[in-house]
């Protein structure tokens, strides 16, 4: 399908990966378009969604049923069939909370190499705040014939050993500041975040994911993103980046920003994130505001 020609979207490095709410409204009903809503809140879709959009839940549908991992190729193909998505379709994903979970679903589609996946800028919130329509009608999935394709973890997914050997290279901790400093595991009476120790991976800088989104939940313009990720950090777009958070969900938002909006060639999401690193035996951890040194 055609790409969004609006000025804002053309300003990004890969305008083919993002569409505006206008574009979506204009293309509703297109035979090749598959709209997918993916939210943090599993009930939100059922309260109303964009016409023809199908629901995709990260927690219950994209995860491996047993291991801490994503679907196997066969399972992903089955999921796509039940959702009525073909390999050639243009998949446009949107969701609540600044597209946090939408970018996560996008990342999983890219693990399986689905070529034409796009995010709707501003997500569900912007669509609603612009007064556009929602429906509670559930579309009937058209039969599809999605092929079984290998999952490629090499290019956009980081594992712990790679993180450990990359200390000192651009590493972005996208959690909130109290999580980064380690303060959060010390609150009395409250259950912790599923990690044994608090703090961050040495040398990681803290850029909370949501700073890349404006108040209307759309992505910031390119120039402001460059300030945030390059000028403020002295990182360069030619560097190799890794982003992480707690389970890899918020960091997929930052991964999307770096790769598709800013054009960083090599950027990976470390989905093990703090719930893995904060439980690993023997790895270095830094507490407090400073990134710390690579040991």
């Amino acid at each position: 399908m055609d790409i969004d020609r609006s000025d804002k979207i053309q300003g990004y490095a890969h305008p083919e990966a993002l569409v505006s709410t206008d574009w979506v409204e204009q293309h509703l009903g297109d035979q090749n378009l598959r709209l997918v809503e993916s939210n943090e809140d599993i009930l939100l879709y059922d309260t109303g969604h964009i016409e023809t959009a199908i629901k995709l839940d990260w927690h219950t549908e994209l995860n491996h049923p047993l291991r801490r991992d994503y679907l196997e190729p066969q399972q992903f193909a089955e999921l796509m069939k039940t959702k009525g998505i073909d390999r050639e379709n243009t998949v446009v994903i949107y969701g609540d909370r600044s597209n946090w979970w939408a970018t996560y679903a996008f990342w999983v589609f890219k693990l399986f190499g689905h070529e034409d996946v796009r995010i709707m800028d501003g997500g569900r919130t912007l669509w609603i705040s612009e007064g556009r329509e929602l429906t509670t009608d559930k579309p009937e999935a058209k039969p599809s014939n999605y092929p079984v394709v290998e999952r490629n973890d090499n290019e956009i997914r980081a594992f712990r050993d790679e993180v450990l050997s990359n200390l000192g290279k651009p590493l972005i901790d996208v959690r909130s500041n109290p999580e980064y400093t380690g303060e959060r595991l010390h609150m009395a009476d409250f259950p912790n975040e599923g990690a044994t120790v608090g703090g961050h991976i040495p040398t990681a800088v803290n850029i909370p994911w949501s700073t890349a989104a404006a108040a209307n939940e759309a992505f910031l313009p390119k120039q402001e993103l460059e300030t945030l990720y390059f000028e403020n950090t002295n990182f360069d777009s030619t560097d190799d980046f890794i982003a992480y958070c707690r389970i890899g969900e918020r960091s997929s938002h930052t991964w999307f920003v770096l790769k598709y909006l800013l054009g960083v060639k090599n950027v990976k999401n470390y989905d093990g994130s703090w719930t893995e690193w904060g439980n690993l035996v023997g790895v270095p951890v830094v507490k407090g505001e400073q990134p710390g040194e690579a040991a």
Partner: protein, 135 residues
Amino acid sequence: MSSQEVVDNFTLLPESERLNMLLEYSEALPEPPTEHAGFDFERVEECQSPVYLAVEIENQEVSLYFDAPREAPTTRGFASVLHSALDGSKIEDVLNFDENFPDKLGIAHLISPLRMRGIRGMIARIKRLTRELSD
């Protein structure tokens, strides 16, 4: 409504309808009364969406107040389920409330264990606030 009745409302339904039941609960959550605007609401950090909880005790009876946005129906649904099960209960019934209540609703695998942390966090906080107020 007793907590057993709440459990029955879910488990007597086929699985495919249980999330709809949670949505109905979310729509039925009473708004916090305005005279309680100055109330000491505590944020439930275990929920990824903002939800605030307040506990009041009068004549040994526990009243619960929740404040959660409509954009977070799952969180509102959990709050409403607990409101139905516990509002108006005796102090000791709240303190002894079954910690496994969330599992008994038969929805954990439908919405993922991670999302169940929110309702557990609410129960832990309801108990702690009740204990603090009744000491």
